[in-house]
Symmetry: C2
Subunit: 148 residues, 2 copies
DNA sequence: TATTGTTATACTCTATAACTATA
DNA sequence: TATAGTTATAGAGTATAACAATA
């Protein structure tokens, strides 16, 4: 009896566009993750990127990554172990631990970003100037939409 | 001594565009995942979506999801347990197990897709017709690029 | 022998609960 | 007391290695 069900694609109007945009973005994101990263796990990359903006406490990191403090404590411990992140005591509040990027950590982050960008760039080189302009305009729109 | 390093954004030219596109797509993808999904884990959703296209063997599923057969075996076992996927023996080759979507699985998949699309659509409603056209054109370009 | 799928075992990233130190 | 961080323990999801069944 159970021969399996097939489901078609839905939609019309804005919902249809939402569907297409979402799928395209997820596909790009997935491919970039799969094919350009090796030595640096996604959650580690993410933490290094946060610390590249500015030093933060463990709780701040946990909140902006939306994971629990114990989980972040582990992730940070691994990054300290490899020498990419430095721990420091807060001079004013003895409970706080300030995490910051080391020179080595910054180098790893830059290298990883470059690797991801190169992978993407290789695929954009075949596009016409007009197509590139469309992509550039679209990214601006998406950024604005996501900032809402 | 270690006061932490700050890293700026890189680039120019196609690399710059690649960087922007990649970041925009990852941000959209991340937000959609965070804010629209609950009952269905990402890897489960992914498998249901594969089976919605057509029934597949375990090995095929493992390959297109790029995980090991034992891992896929587990994931599938959970989906069979909930009644969203059906197992069947291949009539021609006794070694094969054919996995397919059940009616319930199809319903869950449709509901999840709708939920993700609605979340995205809510954010696109404020855009002008021209901005929407730009996004539509951009998704076509990205689809073509990713298909390379 | 080669292939498909499962079981055994382990590692990583996540969580909650309990603990320590500081405010 | 309340807060920041760590340690203890457990639950997913991943992997490799070894095994059973079929070609």
């Amino acid at each position: 009896m159970e021969e399996g069900v097939t489901v078609g694609e839905p939609g019309s109007d804005v919902v249809r566009l939402a569907h297409d945009v979402r799928l395209a973005c997820m596909r790009v994101s997935r491919r970039v993750r799969f094919e350009s990263s090796e030595e640096l796990a996604p959650h580690q990359f993410s933490v290094l990127a946060r610390l590249a903006v500015r030093a933060r406490t463990l709780k701040e990191l946990a909140e902006c990554e939306r994971i629990s403090p114990p989980s972040m404590s582990r992730t940070v411990a691994a990054l300290v172990e490899t020498g990419w992140v430095a721990r420091a005591d807060d001079p004013d509040d003895g409970r706080l631990v300030v995490l910051s990027l080391t020179e080595e950590g910054a180098a790893v982050l830059v290298a990883e970003r470059a690797k991801r960008d190169v992978w993407m760039a290789e695929r954009l080189e075949s596009l016409s100037p007009q197509e590139r302009a469309t992509l550039a305009a679209a990214t601006d729109i998406l950024e604005a939409v996501m900032a809402q």
